[in-house]
C-alpha cells in the first residue's frame, strides 16, 4: 500500500476525533504495520464495538462492521469461524473491551479465537463525554467520579495473558516504533493477539485532570510508563503496579497455543 488513503476512506476525512486524540495516532501506526505486511485488503474484515476508538473501522476502506457496544469480539468470533480465510481485526476501547465487553474479552482470549485486537486505552469513555472507565486511574477525575475515582483499574494486558491469549503487548502512543512492531507481530500471529495502546483523550480525560492540552497528556504518558523489564527487575506485582497508576509497557506474552479455528478444523478432520 503506497498511500495512507489506500487504506483509509478519504471521502470521510477529516475524522470526528478531537484535536490531539490518540485514536488518530493509532490509525497511523496501524497503517504502517498493515501496509508492510502482504495482506489482501479484500480479505480482511474490521470489527468494532461502540466508542471513539471503535469508529476506526468506519474510516477503513475494507469490509467493516461497527457492532453494538462491547460485542466486537463475539461478532468477530462468529465471523472468523465461518470464514477462516479472512483476517479479522478488531479496534476497541477500554470501555468497549474492558467494561461492557469484558466477558467476551476473557473468553476470546481463553478460546484463542482467531483475531487481532487493538485496544485504545484512553482511561475514559470518550464518546459519551468523559465518564470513568474500568481503566481510569485510582483517584482520577471524570464526570462520574467528581470526587476522584475510588475504584481500582484493570490491567487489560495481564487479563489477556491469564485468560490465555497467544500474543499480548502494551505501548503508549509515544512508542510509535515499538507499537508498529507489536502490531505487525500481532497481525501475523495465529490465534488471539492483543495490543493495548495507552492513548490520550484530552477532551474526556485530560480536561478534568489538568491535562486538557494534548501535550500535557503526552507528558503524563511518558512519566507514567515503565518498561516491563524494569518492573520485573524490581519484582513489582502487576496488580499493584496498575493500582499505583503505572503503565507497564512491553511484550507480555508470545506463545503458540493452538487457535480455536485450528482446533475445530482438526476436530472436523477427525484428528
Amino acid at each position: 500500500m503506497e498511500d495512507f488513503f489506500d487504506l483509509y476512506r478519504k471521502d470521510r476525512w477529516p475524522t470526528i476525533f478531537c484535536p490531539g486524540c490518540g485514536v488518530g495516532t493509532v490509525m497511523n501506526c496501524f497503517y504502517r504495520a498493515f501496509s508492510e505486511l502482504d495482506i489482501d485488503q479484500d480479505r480482511v474484515v474490521f470489527v468494532s464495538g461502540v466508542g471513539c476508538s471503535s469508529r476506526i473501522p468506519g474510516y477503513i476502506r475494507a469490509d467493516s462492521i461497527h457492532t453494538t457496544h462491547g460485542r466486537a469480539l463475539a461478532v468477530a468470533t462468529g465471523l472468523s469461524l465461518s470464514n477462516p480465510d479472512l483476517k479479522v481485526i478488531v479496534f476497541t476501547g477500554d470501555g468497549d473491551l474492558g467494561a461492557i465487553g469484558g466477558n467476551h474479552f476473557i473468553h476470546s482470549s481463553r478460546r484463542n479465537a482467531d483475531m487481532t485486537v487493538f485496544c485504545i486505552n484512553n482511561n475514559i469513555y470518550g464518546m459519551t463525554g468523559g465518564q470513568a472507565s474500568t481503566t481510569t486511574p485510582h483517584r482520577a477525575f471524570s464526570t462520574t467520579t467528581p470526587y476522584g475515582n475510588m475504584e481500582f483499574p484493570f490491567d487489560l494486558a495481564e487479563l489477556a495473558v491469564t485468560a490465555g491469549a497467544n500474543y499480548v503487548a502494551r505501548w503508549t502512543v509515544r512508542n510509535v516504533k515499538e507499537l508498529i512492531g507489536s502490531m505487525r507481530k500481532a497481525l501475523v500471529k495465529n490465534g488471539f493477539s492483543f495490543v493495548e495502546v495507552a492513548s490520550p483523550c484530552p477532551t474526556g480525560f485530560g480536561r478534568r485532570n489538568k491535562m486538557g492540552d494534548p501535550k500535557q497528556m503526552y507528558e503524563w504518558l511518558k512519566i507514567k510508563s515503565v518498561r516491563k523489564e524494569k518492573s520485573e527487575f524490581w519484582n513489582m506485582d502487576p496488580v499493584d503496579l496498575n493500582i499505583s497508576g503505572q503503565i507497564t509497557i512491553g511484550e507480555f506474552v508470545d506463545r503458540n497455543r493452538p487457535s480455536l479455528g485450528s482446533m475445530l478444523k482438526s476436530m472436523m478432520n477427525n484428528e
Binding site: I16, C18, P19, T203
Partner: protein
C-alpha cells in the same frame, strides 16, 4: 406569544453558555406584567457538537407549556462564518441578526447588527468572553429582557472567580449594542 433566539458559532466559543444564561435569566428573574415568564434552552448534541459548529436555541413564552423548539428564530446571534453559512437561510424577513464583526465575514440582506465582540474581548485580555459580550449586545439590541435579570443569571452560571470578568464583558456588550442601534 413566544420569542425565539438562536446562538450559533464554533465549539469552544461558549455558545451554549450564552443560551443558558439568557434562558435562566428569563426563567428565574424576569417578570412581565407581574407574571412569570418561561424560557426553554435547547441545543444540538452529538459528534457535531464536539468540534466544529455549535448551536443553542432559547424560546421565551408567557405561558408555562409551549413548543420549545426554534424553527425560524426571531433573533439570530452568529459568532463564526461556518455558523453564518449554516443558519443564515433559516430565517425570515423579520429575523434580526446580531453578528460578531470579526468572526463572520458575510453579511445578510435582512436586518443585522455588527458587534466587535471578539475585539472587545481581546481588549480586556480574555478572548474567551466574546460570547458574553455578544450576549450583552443582543440583550441591548433586542430589548426583550432586562439587563439585570441576565446579569444575575450570568453570575449563577459563571465558573467561580469569573463573575466580575463576565459582568464586565456583558456591560461592554450592552454598550456595543447601544452603539449598534444608534449607528443604524
Amino acid at each position: 406569544m413566544t420569542i425565539s433566539v438562536r446562538f450559533a458559532g464554533m465549539g469552544g466559543q461558549g455558545i451554549i453558555f450564552s443560551g443558558i444564561a439568557l434562558a435562566r435569566g428569563v426563567s428565574l428573574y424576569e417578570k412581565r406584567g407581574g407574571k412569570d415568564l418561561y424560557a426553554i434552552q435547547t441545543q444540538s448534541y452529538g459528534p457535531e457538537a464536539r468540534g466544529g459548529s455549535s448551536k443553542c436555541d432559547v424560546k421565551i413564552s408567557e405561558s408555562e407549556n409551549f413548543y420549545p423548539f426554534v424553527e425560524i428564530p426571531d433573533y439570530l446571534v452568529l459568532m463564526s462564518q461556518p455558523a453564518y453559512e449554516r443558519f443564515i437561510d433559516v430565517t425570515n424577513k423579520d429575523t434580526v441578526v446580531v453578528l460578531d464583526e470579526d468572526a463572520v465575514e458575510s453579511r445578510p440582506d435582512i436586518e443585522y447588527y455588527d458587534i466587535a465582540a471578539t475585539k472587545k474581548a481581546e481588549e480586556i485580555g480574555k478572548r474567551i468572553v466574546a460570547n458574553v459580550v455578544m450576549l450583552g449586545a443582543f440583550v441591548e439590541i433586542s430589548g426583550i429582557v432586562s439587563k439585570k435579570s441576565i446579569q444575575k443569571a450570568l453570575c449563577d452560571v459563571a465558573p467561580k472567580g469569573t463573575e466580575s470578568l463576565n459582568k464586565k464583558a456583558f456591560e461592554l456588550g450592552t454598550a456595543l449594542g447601544k452603539d449598534a442601534i444608534n449607528a443604524d
